[in-house]
């Protein structure tokens, strides 16, 4: 995923039942195509954050933001340009590691990527890696050589840098 193509949209939403459904239903109905979506809590009680990323030109993103703004549960929408934000994704990778030489190769890569082993068995390692999607992709490319058994990625969470300008996007 090229960082330049990625648009990050961060929504502060009311923490009410059905809000995630309202957001995703709109995305489906209007034919938008998102890559990742993450939901979690925020610093405020009763407010959750939905972070989503999508590729596509700015007109499409603008239309998505405008449509999402119309959902009464959406309190605020912030578009986070990758160049002015920090963003991270976490991946858990279960990778084949049967013979000792391969195992040490993997461990070497872990140091380079600042990732770590969180579980090990006779035949495999479970590795945790945190970073930008491109870093994770690069790491996964390497791990493919060893044989990825299972993979789980969280999708991106992001915050604006410093005192980033937050755009009031809500109706």
């Amino acid at each position: 995923m090229m960082v330049d193509e990625m648009n990050i949209i961060s929504l502060a939403v009311a923490d009410r039942p059905g809000v995630l459904f309202k957001v995703t239903s709109l995305i489906r109905r209007r034919g938008f195509n998102i890559d990742t979506i993450v939901v979690g809590s925020t610093e405020k009680e009763n407010v959750s954050r939905i972070t989503m990323t999508m590729k596509g030109d700015l007109r499409v993103v603008e239309q998505l933001v405008k449509q999402l703004s119309k959902i009464p549960d959406v309190i605020k929408i912030t578009e986070l340009p990758p160049s002015e934000s920090v963003y991270r994704e976490l991946a858990l990778v279960k990778v084949t590691a049967q013979d000792q030489s391969k195992r040490s190769d993997i461990l070497n890569y872990l140091t380079i990527f600042r990732s770590r082993v969180i579980d090990a068995s006779k035949d495999s390692l479970v590795v945790e890696i945190v970073g930008s999607p491109s870093k994770i992709n690069a790491f996964l490319d390497l791990m493919k050589g060893f044989g990825i058994i299972e993979l789980a990625r969280t999708g991106i969470v992001a915050l604006g840098r410093g005192r980033s300008r937050e755009k009031e996007g809500s109706e």
Binding site: K22, K66, S69, K70, P72, S170, E171
Partner: protein, 558 residues
């Protein structure tokens, strides 16, 4: 004072000045109907929930305030869906109240359970499911606020049966926190106005396109003022009919797929389009790529998401139509005097007379003639509703609407069966005015059972059936685009609409000539029961002009 949840609903509706509710009771709303029993709210018992929603919609479009409909859980609620969809597409304010299975049974596939909040999510502004009676007062209040502000639309409140019977103290009710919704002031931004004025002043061939938003924001007067100031012709969308009196010299009628030729040609010749309260639907623009390719566009709309959705806009004004138009008129009058006759106004008039639809010759009753005759026979403030299909387009093309909120049609969703129930809702909203439903036989038969409601509730509206015994619009497309392979459009000769009307206790009459039509309309205006006027027409009558799908407005067949 403690109330049951059901009584709290009734009280809350009264606080919102609701005077009528359209609906049918069912298992899960029995407690609500028990509360209706000794309230002074008028309840109109419909025969199908879809029509409760259409009636509430018809009422809302006449009054400009939310119409209220109610249904029980499960099938009652799902029957509302079409009516809610119509209101959503046409931005009509509505509050729909549905019963739901008791809280403990939700999600267990109980008898008559349906996830109506989920089902209607894409066609409502918001859906509430109440989980405690203490939420009722504030939820109802919020529902009315959502339905009737910014871009209007339907809101659904789903209430489990045991919430109706739970006790609530309205003084200590829970406050909803709708932080994500702000009622817009509707004032246009001065910068947008300045930019718009710049475009207007440098334009030579301005054209105004008025949509349903002009009617919704009661901006008819301001629209006409702007048109007169600029000597700019006004084309309307289907939903915009009535925003300017259609007998006004600057009115050029409806544009679009079945728009008038002059209207489409004038829009194609513009160097500036001032689009007000409209959303550039495919039925209005024809081929989107070519639409307005030589024109700059000022787009006034209360919904920011409409700006740039379909058409690239030069200057957006996200604001209320009336406030924007009155600001523009005021600012223009400071800058320049009213435009007089110009090369453009002469060309507009030439196009108007050149493309004027000629009186059709031939046997039988011609829909266009009938529409013109109807206009001459009924008062300017009479309300007209329509079905969907050829009947609707004939009405849109040939029936001149003279006042806002007197032409009520399912524009966006295009739901057949809308006409009769909408006419009933309109008549309830304006009991002292005449209401006519221009319908087709196929459309009428979808909701014909509401004649029972109209008779029982003494709501006399007049239905005119343009009766060609076929699904005419589909037949027309099959004729024009499928080599006359008429597939499944023949409805046959049943029922006899006169006898049908009579069996409901309504009046029925079949007319064979314009003269008989005139007599029937005059008699219908005195009738105390609903009237059905059956007008047999030829199945070969077509709605023309027509811009074939995918073609640009210029490529009109007429």
């Amino acid at each position: 004072m403690r109330l049951s949840g059901a009584k709290a609903i009734v009280e809350s509706l009264k606080n919102e000045k609701v005077d009528v509710v359209f609906g049918i009771p069912g298992g899960m709303t029995i407690p609500l109907y028990d509360a209706f029993y000794d309230s002074d709210l008028r309840h109109i018992l419909v025969r199908h929930e879809q029509c409760a929603a259409h009636m509430a919609d018809g009422y809302a479009r006449v009054r400009g305030v939310p119409g209220v409909c109610t249904a029980t859980s499960g099938p009652g609620a799902t029957n509302l869906v079409t009516g809610i969809g119509v209101a959503y597409m046409d931005s009509s304010p509505m509050v729909a109240i549905t019963g739901q299975v008791p809280r403990a049974m939700i999600g267990k596939d109980a008898f008559q359970e349906a996830d109506i909040v989920g089902i209607t999510n894409p066609i409502t502004k918001y859906g509430f499911q109440i989980t405690s009676a203490s939420e009722i007062p504030d939820t109802v209040k919020t529902a009315f606020l959502l339905a009737s502000t910014n871009r209007k639309g339907p809101v659904l409140i789903d209430i489990p049966k045991d919430v109706f019977t739970e006790e609530v103290n309205p003084d200590s009710s829970m406050k909803l926190n709708m932080k994500g919704y702000t009622v817009r002031s509707g004032e246009p931004h001065p910068y947008s106005i300045k930019k718009a004025l710049g475009l207007i002043l440098s334009s030579e061939r301005p054209v105004i396109i008025a949509g349903g938003g002009v009617i919704s924001s009661n901006a008819g007067k301001e629209l006409t003022q702007l048109a007169e100031t600029l000597m700019a012709p006004v084309a309307t969308t289907l939903m915009g009919k009535g925003s300017i009196p259609e007998n006004h010299p600057l009115s050029v009628g409806m544009l679009g797929m079945h728009g008038r030729v002059e209207s489409n040609m004038i829009v194609e010749s513009a160097d500036l389009l001032i689009a007000v309260g409209m959303r550039f639907s495919d039925r209005t623009t024809g081929n989107l790529e070519k639409f307005g390719e030589n024109a700059k566009v000022i787009h006034i709309d209360i919904d920011p998401a409409e700006i740039g959705k379909n058409v690239k806009v030069t200057v957006p004004i996200v604001a209320d139509a009336r406030k924007s138009l009155s600001t523009l008129v005021a600012r223009l009058s400071e800058i320049e005097s009213k435009r007089g006759e110009s090369e453009w106004s002469r060309r507009v008039n030439e196009m108007k007379s050149h493309y004027e639809l000629k009186k059709e010759a031939g046997e039988g009753i011609k829909p266009a003639q009938l529409m013109k005759l109807l206009r001459d026979l009924i008062p300017g403030n009479a309300i007209v509703t329509t079905g969907v299909g050829q009947n609707q387009m004939w009405a849109a093309l040939h029936f001149q609407v003279l006042e806002p909120r007197t032409f009520i049609t399912s524009g966006g969703l295009g739901a057949m069966g809308f006409g009769l129930p909408a006419s009933i809702g309109a008549k309830v909203a304006a009991p002292n005015r005449l209401v006519f439903n221009i319908d087709g036989d196929g459309s009428f038969i979808m909701t014909e059972q509401e004649l029972a409601t109209a008779v029982e509730e003494k709501i006399p509206t007049v239905t005119i059936i343009l009766d060609n015994r076929v699904l005419g619009m589909v037949r027309q497309w099959q004729c024009m685009f499928c080599d006359k392979r008429y597939s499944e459009i023949d409805l046959g000769n049943v029922p006899d609409f006169v006898k049908l009307a009579e069996s409901y206790g309504a009046e029925g009459v079949r007319i064979e000539s314009y003269k008989e039509f005139e007599l029937a309309i005059k008699r219908s205006m005195e009738a105390e029961v609903p009237v059905v006027i059956d007008v047999p027409i030829s199945a070969d009558e077509k709605v023309l002009p027509m811009v074939p799908p995918g073609k640009r407005l210029k490529e009109v067949i007429w």
